[in-house]
């Protein structure tokens, strides 16, 4: 059954889910996994260089997207980061099929560069690590809007990107391992849950 669902159907259903009500927007892992699989096949089919060619974002936007995704979920001692998990490709692929994302993410990246130009006289990628942290700290919290209403669009953009980054990361092989998710596999015996530790 799943194999009869077209690539476009999968992407559309995932992109739709973001727009619907919270009660209904949980989408099965299988469909997200199919997006990751599509990307793997695309990568394998790409030229010997193997570089990913973004479908929607310009080269500059895509590099910025990569930097932001990695900032949202960086590598640590337990697992690799968003880039290694294929999150920017995941987001690019979904965005290529969704007009709302194209506007919110494409426009959001332009907003970020324009704001960095105002603040630091250069675009986000050319900012120093300290400057990048400063702007992300402004965008990562809703309450900052009270001090500076000009941040509202950027905060909304960052919230969407954060949601999509967690989606892409935790439905990837790296993310699933990071959570120690152990199900969806054959077991000869099902012992159930261990007890809740005391204290």
């Amino acid at each position: 059954m799943a194999n009869t669902v077209s690539r476009r159907d999968v992407l559309k259903s995932l992109a739709l889910s973001g727009a619907s009500s919270s009660a209904l927007r949980l989408i099965p892992l299988q469909r997200a996994v199919r997006v990751h699989e599509m990307l793997q096949r695309d990568k394998a089919a790409a030229s010997a260089g193997g570089a990913y060619t973004p479908r929607f974002f310009t080269s500059h936007q895509y590099k910025t997207l990569q930097a932001l995704c990695q900032a949202i979920i960086p590598p640590d001692d337990r697992s690799a980061g968003a880039i290694e998990a294929g999150v920017p490709e995941f987001i690019d692929l979904l965005t290529s099929e969704n007009k709302d994302y194209q506007l919110q993410l494409g426009g959001g990246l332009m907003w970020l560069d324009a704001t960095c130009a105002d603040l630091y006289g250069k675009n986000y990628l050319d900012c120093t690590a300290a400057e990048q942290k400063q702007i992300l700290d402004l965008l990562a919290y809703r309450e900052n809007v009270r001090k500076n209403s000009g941040l509202s669009q950027g905060i909304r953009f960052f919230a969407l990107l954060r949601d999509l980054t967690t989606d892409g990361f935790y439905t990837s092989e790296i993310g699933i391992k990071d959570l120690h998710y152990l199900g969806n596999t054959f077991v000869a015996e099902f012992p159930g849950c261990p007890p809740v530790p005391e204290g």
Binding site: I27, L136, A140, R162, T171, L179
Partner: protein, 279 residues
């Protein structure tokens, strides 16, 4: 002729089958085909249980969609509403899905290592308590042939009208209060929206549970129903509708097994009547 096109689609087929003998649709002398469409009144509350973050990683998945089940227990007392509902309880270290960490991202915001830690810490700590109630049909919920829209084969499609009744709203409110109390009594904190009709008591969406039944209902009286108790049309003896369209009310439990049982019963009857040359 045996139709099993699913609720609504069976109604659509009959309504579109007009003839001089049946000007308002096949077997529709009662005018009730399309009427009394139902879904499942529902509400849900999500609870956060920090204790669960301490459980060591383990295989939490049994068969798909596994949940604890509590049948209706307040059948022997006076309630604010008619009929009842059951409870489905599930959660824990389930398969990761798209949207799973949107709540964590919204609650804690930020980014980087702290966000990643929050996702790990919160994974497996949410328990969903969901209610599924019985819907009594009402006059305001129905489908009819759309006068201006056809499908890709040129066949007129349905248009829908749907409204929950006061009974449905009271039931959803009762679910909402009960589930909040269950979560709190179990040592958790409700983290989803609770408590008001404006917030639909967590999950009272028209068609939200997608248990659509009714629209070609069964009954003893040909004036107030389309089919008899064996899914046979009152108007046309050799016409049977053997899907969820025949439901006269929508019980709280998922309809599939009931559809199969009714279909089985109708098939036995059909065979018996055919042998007697009554069809």
């Amino acid at each position: 002729m045996v139709i099993g096109a699913s609720a609504c689609e069976s109604a659509r087929l009959l309504l579109n089958s007009k003839s001089p003998l049946f000007p308002s649709g096949l077997a529709n002398s009662s005018g009730l085909i399309g009427r009394y469409l139902m879904d499942t009144p529902s509400s849900g509350v999500v609870g956060y249980f920090p204790q669960l973050s301490k459980i060591p990683p383990h295989n939490h998945d049994g068969t798909g969609s596994v949940h604890a089940y509590a049948p209706w227990w307040k059948y022997d007392r006076k309630n604010e509403f008619l009929r009842g509902y059951h409870i489905e309880i599930y959660g824990g270290r389930t398969m990761p899905v798209v949207g799973m960490f949107h709540g964590v991202a919204e609650e804690f915001e930020g980014y980087g290592n702290s966000l990643k830690e929050r996702c790990r810490e919160r994974y497996g700590t949410y328990v969903h308590v969901e209610g599924r109630g019985e819907m009594i049909p009402n006059e305001r919920s129905y489908c009819e042939i759309d006068p201006s829209v056809v499908d890709r084969w040129g066949i007129p499609v349905l248009r829908f009208h749907f409204a929950w009744s006061d009974n449905d709203l009271k039931m959803a409110e009762d679910m909402n209060q009960t589930f909040k109390a269950i979560i709190e009594a179990a040592g958790g904190t409700p983290v989803s929206e609770v408590g008001s009709a404006e917030h639909r008591f967590g999950h009272l969406y028209e068609g939200g549970v997608a248990h659509e039944v009714g629209t070609v209902r069964m009954g003893a009286d040909p004036a107030t129903s389309v089919l008899n108790g064996f899914c046979q049309a009152h108007d046309v003896k050799n016409l049977f509708v053997i899907d969820g369209a025949c439901f006269a009310t929508n019980p709280d439990k998922n309809p599939t097994a009931t559809i199969m049982a009714l279909s089985w019963r109708a098939s036995d009857y059909l065979l018996d009547e055919a042998k007697k040359s009554n069809l």
